[in-house]
Each structure stands twice: as structure tokens, then as C-alpha cells.
Amino acid sequence: MIQGSQALVVRDLRKKYPGTEALKGIDLTLPKGEICGLLGPNGSGKSTLLKCVIGLLQADSGTIEIFGQKPSRHTKAQIAFVPEIDNLYRWMTVQETIDFISTFYEDWEPQRVPDLLDFMRLEPEKRVSSLSKGMRARLKLILTLARTAPLVLLDEPFSGIDPSSRDRIVEGIVREFKSEEQTMIISTHAVGDTEQLFDSVVFLDEGTVNLQGNAEDLRVRYRKSINDLFKEVFA
């Protein structure tokens, strides 16, 4: 069903909001099987780009191809998107949230749920409104990892949460990511100790791609860790 070796191809993508130009011609190619770090400070266009890919925003010009298809209802079925914002129904319990989301995806694997709940230390009967921010972030990740979505988009999964939740999330990603059938984009404004997650990185600065490439190659070429490179580029 899925052909070609690129998971995502973005060409000359532009998007304006009243008063600002969020994306100023983004070109991006993401091969299948990679975890890509989408790095840049707040307001650099990371969220806008991810929202264009999932279809929450419509670009003004340029093209997006997800496994060769334009963003639509059909590509939504192939994408697991975790927004930075709190998007869960607060009146649902953890279990109800899982039941709700699971209905909509063919690639949902119910047998993974108990293990994931256990790993993320979440109680199914707890109400979402009673969870801490870190717990909600972990629940959002469960909703993604219980699927084998061909393309996973995580928008700022580590921001504003406690260190132990952050560790769980990093570990969850390493544990559950299947490079044979999945591709992942993780956006973050603070690389910190997450740089070992990335196969490739894209530096986004004020709506343009500043630097992109294989993470190991960049370490060799610039004789710097990705974190140091990030600090230098955005100093």
C-alpha cells in the first residue's frame, strides 16, 4: 500500500498568519524509518509545520506529501499526532479516553494497552482532570504508542513536564518505535538529553530550515553535539 522510500516530502511550504509569516518556504525530505528531531526556539514554525502535515492548518502555497499522498482524511488515518496543547476530554477517565481513541484507528493494538499503562504508571479508572501535566503527557503518548502508525508526530512532548515523566516518555519512544514500519518527528525547543533519540535533525529558524542532516554526520562535521550545535545556531 505504501510506496516509495520517503515518509514525508515538503516543498516550498509557506504559511502566513495575520501579522506574521510562520513558514517561509520549507523544504524537507524525511526517509522512512527515521526519528527526526525538529528543533527550533518557540515561534520558529515547528507547530505550524506539524499542523499543516496533519491537516489542522492549510498552507498558503507549497506541497506536502505523506507517503506520496496530499494531507486528507486518509492520511490522518496513517498519522499519530500529539499536540503540545492539552487535547484530552477532561471528563473522561483514562480508560474511557483509550476506548474513545481506539475506535478510530485500524492500526490500534489493544493487547499493548495494559503493558503501556503499567509502564507509564497510569491507573485506568482515574479521571483525566485529576491527572498531573506529566501524567497527561504520558497518556497522550500511550494513545500514540498503542498504534503502529506509519507516521508519528510529537509536538513538544517534553516541554513543561516533570523529569520522571520525561524519562518515561523518552524510554517509551525508544521501546515502542518500530523503525521497520514507522517514521517519527519530534519537535522540541530544548534538545537537552534527548539528542540520542534522533537519526536526523532539522533546525527551524523563523520559518526557514537553517540546517538539516543526519545527526551523526553533523556531530562529525561540526565537531559538536547536537545540543551544542543547537545552542550555537540559536544563540
Binding site: V170, E171, V174, S179, N227
Partner: protein
């Protein structure tokens, strides 16, 4: 392992295996963790571990047996070779650093000898490692 350095992560992983082989905590024929296990343990992208294992196979450090796992190669000279290589690398690096500070090899040797004696006194060691 410290991933915040400029050394590629897959090379750091290879170096760590070499070190363990050199000091004897991994012996020829020993089974090493699966790629998945190691990725989890280090919290590193599985593709990076895969690359490290592939390189180690090419270097003749490990071999993967279908359905059984990955093992340190049964090469009797492996330990010696690895040790020598690491040693040579360390010394080369050291020499390079000293050269860049303006010391020639003879001077380095002299300084090193002096330093070694002081070191033995301060740590209370007697004799050599032989």
C-alpha cells in the same frame, strides 16, 4: 556514556564494547545484548545501535548468528588486537596533544618518566604492572 559530546553516538557504543573486550569483562564467545535491549538500556534510537552493531561486524568484533543473537567473535587474537588498538590510539592522541603544546617526542618521554615516578609514590605503588 555521555551523549552530549561531539563523538558520534554509534562510535561511542563501539568504543565501549572495545573497552570491555580489552579489560576482559567481555570475552570471545560471550553473548552481548540484542540491539533492542541495548537501545532501551542506553535510551538511544534503535537505528543508532543497529549502525554500531553493523560496524562492529565489519570490524570483526562481533558476529550475529541467526536466531541466536550477537556474540563476541571467537578470534583468539581479538583481545590482544583490541587492547593494542586502544592503547595505540590513546598514546597517539596524547602525543598529538603534547606536540601541539610544542614538546618533541624525547622531551615527552622524559616528562612521562618523571610523572610516572611521582604517580607511583603518591599512590603507593611499587614496581610495575608486569
Amino acid at each position: 556514556m555521555d551523549f552530549s559530546t561531539s563523538i558520534p553516538i554509534y562510535l561511542q557504543i563501539i568504543e565501549e564494547f572495545k573497552r570491555q573486550i580489552a579489560i576482559g569483562s567481555l570475552r570471545p564467545g560471550d553473548k552481548i545484548p540484542s540491539q533492542r535491549e541495548l537501545a532501551l538500556e542506553l535510551k538511544v534510537n534503535a537505528n543508532t545501535v543497529q549502525r554500531a552493531y553493523r560496524e562492529m561486524e565489519i570490524l570483526g568484533l562481533v558476529e550475529t548468528l541467526r536466531g541466536q543473537g550477537t556474540f563476541i567473535c571467537q578470534n583468539p587474537r581479538l583481545v590482544e588486537e583490541t587492547k593494542t588498538e586502544m592503547l595505540t590510539n590513546l598514546i597517539d592522541e596524547f602525543l598529538q596533544a603534547m606536540n601541539s603544546l610544542g614538546y618533541k617526542e624525547e622531551a615527552v618521554l622524559e616528562l612521562l618518566k618523571e610523572r610516572c615516578e611521582q604517580h607511583q609514590i603518591s599512590t603507593g605503588q611499587e614496581g610495575s604492572n608486569e
